[in-house]
Amino acid sequence: MSGYSITEPSLRQKWVAGTLVVAYALITILPLIWILTTGFKSPTDAISYPPKVIFEPSLEGYVNLFTTRTRVSPEALAALPPPATWYEEIVRNRDMVIAGPSRYGERFLNSIIIGFGSTFLSIFLGTLAAYAFSRFKVPLKDDLLFFILSTRMMPPIAVAIPIFLMFRTLGLSDTHLGMILLYTAVNISLAVWLLKGFIDEIPREYEEAALIDGYTRFQAFRKVVLPQAATGIASTAIFCLIFAWNEYAFAVLLTSGTAQTAPPFIPTIIGVGGQDWPAVAAGATLFLLPVMIFTILLRKHLLRGITFGAVRK
């Protein structure tokens, strides 16, 4: 410690603060650790009392997540050839055989298609609009910006009523295209607000210099502004992606089989007789992990993203 400072907290203060924060962090992360570990428990360990902290790891949850199984009689089971793979063996140990793959893979893929599709569209449209709002005199600019934001105040269920009717008329119900358009419309307010903030931060002088050098406005946008805004665009994209990834209300109301994403699907994973918690936990782990990684990558821009750019720091 170099000298005494009024604003620098004392060592003792730091120690106390640190202990409390770490204690809170450990409690808050416990449910997430529980999801992770439950995925590797056997069904019996998962529902044992008291809850098991130490257990023998099992891949049954993951096998159950990706397969559908049927129970067969012991005689029929005995008549079958020996299991060819390790996962078949796990299933056989429960007096069951694999009937086919589960729907989890499809639902996960739908989440990827709809998530990336809507993110791409939101960023594409959002960048253009944000640039225009940032650099030009757009009539009624503030009103338009507020209008864009206010679309987020509606409860999704309220929005879903007319969307449901509209999609039914247009044949967009339960289609990837319909969901991509819908998520784009929801995300675009976030994209415009965030990107406008990022572009505002790029000094105008760069573009003006380029314009003097004979660039057209469009070239200046493309060659000067876009590269400068790259980090901002990337973090905005991740925020859009996370929203689309996590969205539940629209997905549960507007999709059923073809375009259903993972969030409405995971809670409906059941085993043969009773909720299969290890499989649910396995499904949740695979689904939540990408977002956790993105969150860690994004931690510097997190605040900005969640407040629509209202708090920058």
Binding site: R135, I148, P155, V192, P267
Partner: protein, 315 residues
């Protein structure tokens, strides 16, 4: 970013068109850039909103395409505003809103204040604390029903560990008295970091010299806290409350997965109630009126709040 969307479009654009784009005036470019966004929002937000307003005056049911649609005037609005059950869901929503905001502000601010002591490794722990808020509420909420199970659930076991109350003697989501708190707990767990992050930004925005000046004036730490820290953080805190308030007024996914509105109807928040009317009972006209009432409520409350916020900021 060598291959941005714009560049891809530019590459794909035939030369004559490209030349034309290059020659465009700023004004045209501005419109060209803004128009698609506005169009999309008109098509997927405004047009449906107008449609909803129109539907709210009818007895239309989306599951009865063959039935004739009649205009019933303000009857739907009248029915909603005089329906006792809807007032109960409003009360449940108010309970949820008040207590989640209360706990999130209290814990969130405390955490931010502690983290601002700048102990070693505070960045790492902040990131860990933030994790729950980024996750899918439906998926996490569903898993919490497992954590809340009496006997086998982790939550009851942790409570038993700390308080000695037997884990099997109470059930969070099945009990009429505890269920409203079970949703408050999970929401607080998920969203306290949100308030924390915003408060942290507020705390970090206070320049050191203000505290130094106060110390020279021999203001006590306690006094400094109330005359410097709190007023300086207040606009940030109010912003956090605004965001959480709007989000929790809309709350659907987390609570639907946790309690489904039960037991009875004690956790039936407005969004869940609206979903039942619109997509289970299929009273589309009635539900549209309900949606409009909710929208006006949020919009109105938010506008008043923003005005207050701006006043605080000006001070």
């Amino acid at each position: 970013m060598s291959d941005t969307p714009i560049e891809r479009v530019a590459k794909a654009t035939p030369p004559t068109v490209a030349r034309r784009i290059r020659g465009l005036s700023d004004r045209t470019i501005a419109w060209l850039f803004v128009a698609p966004t506005i169009f999309l929002l008109l098509a997927i937000n405004i047009f449906p909103l107008i449609w909803t307003v129109n539907l709210s005056f009818t007895n239309f049911r989306a599951n009865r395409p063959n039935k004739e649609v009649e205009y019933v005037g303000l009857q739907n609005y009248e029915r909603i505003l005089t329906d006792g059950d809807i007032w109960l869901t409003m009360q449940a929503t108010a309970h949820f809103l008040f207590w989640t905001l209360f706990f999130q502000v209290l814990i969130g601010f405390t955490l931010a204040w502690l983290i601002n002591r700048k102990f070693r490794g505070n960045d790492l722990w902040t990131t860990i604390i933030v994790l729950p808020m980024m996750l899918s509420p439906a998926v996490v909420g569903n898993f919490w029903t497992f954590l809340y199970q009496p006997q086998i659930g982790l939550f009851n076991y942790v409570v038993e560990f700390f308080t000695g109350i037997p884990a099997s003697s109470f059930q969070m989501i099945g009990d009429v008295a505890l269920a409203p708190w079970s949703i408050v707990i999970v929401d607080t767990w998920m969203w306290t970091p949100f308030v924390m992050l915003i408060c942290l930004a507020g705390l970090r925005s206070i320049p050191d010299y203000i505290y130094e000046a106060a110390a020279i004036d021999r203001a006590s730490k306690w006094r400094q806290f109330w005359t410097i820290t709190i007023p300086m953080v207040l606009p940030f805190l109010m912003l956090a409350v605004l965001f959480r308030g709007i989000e929790n007024f809309k709350m659907f996914d987390l609570v639907v997965q946790l309690t489904g509105g039960g037991p009875g109807s004690v956790t039936e928040l407005t969004s869940i109630n609206l979903k039942r009317e619109a997509f289970e009972k299929w009273r589309t006209g009635y539900a549209s009126a309900y949606a409009i009432i909710l929208f006006v409520t949020v919009f109105g409350l938010a506008s008043i709040y923003v005005k207050a916020l701006n006043k605080v900021k000006e001070r």
